[in-house]
């Protein structure tokens, strides 16, 4: 129904023998904020670089605004925040923005860009003198200054402390409200949840789930139970809510969607249980569980 802004069709991308993306299909609709969520090395940045025309797929098709991503007019309508170590240190915030703005046919005004990214008081500071969070905000400003219809944000908050991360989310949220289409990559589930309308889970070059942030949260939400027990693994696996069971050489590790029932049953079955630990599972664990489930 809605217009497709960017699309990967059956895309394979290999780096030598490493298969970064495997038969990947992705559709980005106009006005949506889509988050590609996955651990490091999942292929998120590769997907972005393909959509930017910085990489070519080995197989399949890449389309942005219905055209080849290298099309000059596409670039006029696209803004990018890449994961890069930096930009020249001896130019001022204002100078970097003015230079980048000049590349676009209908750029935002300098004051508007500064206001949108909270850089008003820093416009005369050299890039080299900015803090990590301020640098990321300038990278965001460069993505935004051309007033693009489509915005790519590749891991916008990686390496930032919690405060700077939340501040940047606030800036991004303001931008997404303006109706721009945004493709975001992240390995923070809270980031995807806080910013996106739709979340696509990627692992080892494949999409393993997609849905609204709350749906994805429900899939990935899990508890990790760690304990030393005599109960056989297949018996644990048979318990309701248990997703996976493993042994790490010292203790048994259980991934469960809800911990309470499982813990109760374990304690009733084996009185000798000790070393019990219960905590929220990280994204990595949740991913592991999801992929194992798919294989099984």
């Amino acid at each position: 129904m809605s217009e497709i802004v960017a699309e990967l069709k059956k895309v394979d991308k290999n780096y030598g023998k490493i298969k970064a993306l495997k038969n990947l299909n992705l559709k980005v609709y106009k006005g949506e904020v889509i988050a590609l969520l996955g651990p490091n090395g999942a292929g998120k940045t590769t997907a972005i670089n393909l959509l930017l025309g910085l990489l070519r797929p080995n197989n399949g098709q890449v389309r942005v605004f219905g055209q080849d991503p290298k099309n000059a007019n596409n670039r006029n309508r696209t803004g990018v925040m890449l994961q890069i170590p930096g930009i020249p240190e001896t130019l001022k915030v204002r100078e970097h923005i003015k230079l980048f703005s000049s590349y676009y046919p209908k750029p935002m005004s300098l004051p508007a860009v500064l206001a949108a990214t909270g850089l008003e008081s820093l416009e005369n500071r050299l890039y080299g003198k900015l803090s990590g969070g301020q640098k990321q905000r300038l990278h965001l400003a460069l993505a935004l200054c051309g007033d693009p219809d489509l915005l790519f944000l590749d891991e916008p908050t990686t390496g930032l402390d919690v405060t700077s991360r939340r501040a940047l989310w606030e800036q991004v949220r303001k931008i997404t409200k303006s109706g721009k289409t945004v493709v975001l990559t992240t390995h923070y589930i809270e980031e995807a949840e806080s910013l996106a309308d739709k979340v696509v889970l990627i692992k080892q070059g494949e999409i393993i789930a997609e849905g609204s942030p709350s749906e994805i949260k429900a899939i990935t939400a899990a508890t990790k139970i760690r304990l030393i027990t005599k109960i056989a693994h297949q018996d644990i696996k048979a318990m309701p809510a248990v997703r996976s069971v493993s042994y790490n050489g010292v203790a048994t590790e259980i991934l469960a969607s809800k911990a309470e029932g499982v813990v109760l049953e374990l304690l009733q079955t084996d009185k000798s249980i000790h070393g019990l630990e219960v905590r929220t599972a990280g994204l990595e664990d949740a991913f592991l569980a999801l992929t194992q489930k798919k294989v099984a």
Binding site: L54, I87, G146
Partner: protein, 258 residues
Amino acid sequence: MNHLKPNMFKIFWLETKYEFFKSLRIPAFAISTIAFPTIFYVMFGLSFNQGLLGKLNTATYYLASYGTFGVIGSALFGFGVGIASERGQGWMRLKRASPMPPLAYFFAKLMVSVVFGAAIVILLTVLGSVFGNVDLSFLQIIKLLAALILGTIPFASMGMALGYLAGPNSAPAIVNLFYLPMAFASGLWVPIQFLPKIVKQIAPFLAPYHLSKLAFAAVGARPDNATWQHIGVLLVYTIVFLILAVFLYRRDDGKTYG
């Protein structure tokens, strides 16, 4: 609406202006490109008189040779080290994902190299005229500047290729590895007639040798009737390295760092 064109003149102007700001604010770049040829000129060209070298007095001879040396350094470092470090930062990748016309980036670097190069030649000319017995006519100064400014181009293309070959950290060392031996073997430090025979045989294959011949002619050396040959060699250098640079630029597509 979507087919509005950005203002090309403005892009080239801003790219060049900020390339200047960027370079001038890096003291290491500004000082080393200008200071080295100046110090060498003062040490070897102005400190002791070696009498006539060919038809030229010592100060005038070295003005042409260190002017050549300076112009080459400005182009090799501006392009070679500049491109390598901007590739390393990822600034290049960001620019390539933007609608920036790639030519604007290279044009800006060329302008900076030309202006730094011209500044070196003018500085040496002033030093030579005030402290040495350089006595050039206005026309000769213009000829020298013109020869050396046009002579920036082959070294800019060489620097471009080196900028895509070298990594961001190794670039200064790699550029020096080309620059210094090439300058020496071309007779830019010590007049070629004082160098060993083997070096004399190598020199005609090196671009700086040919550029220096044009500079010597501009300041009144005995004509060697090989002007077109010098220009021809410099053109060949320009084309070969430009082709290599374009190939490496394309290869750089999609490469990621770090």
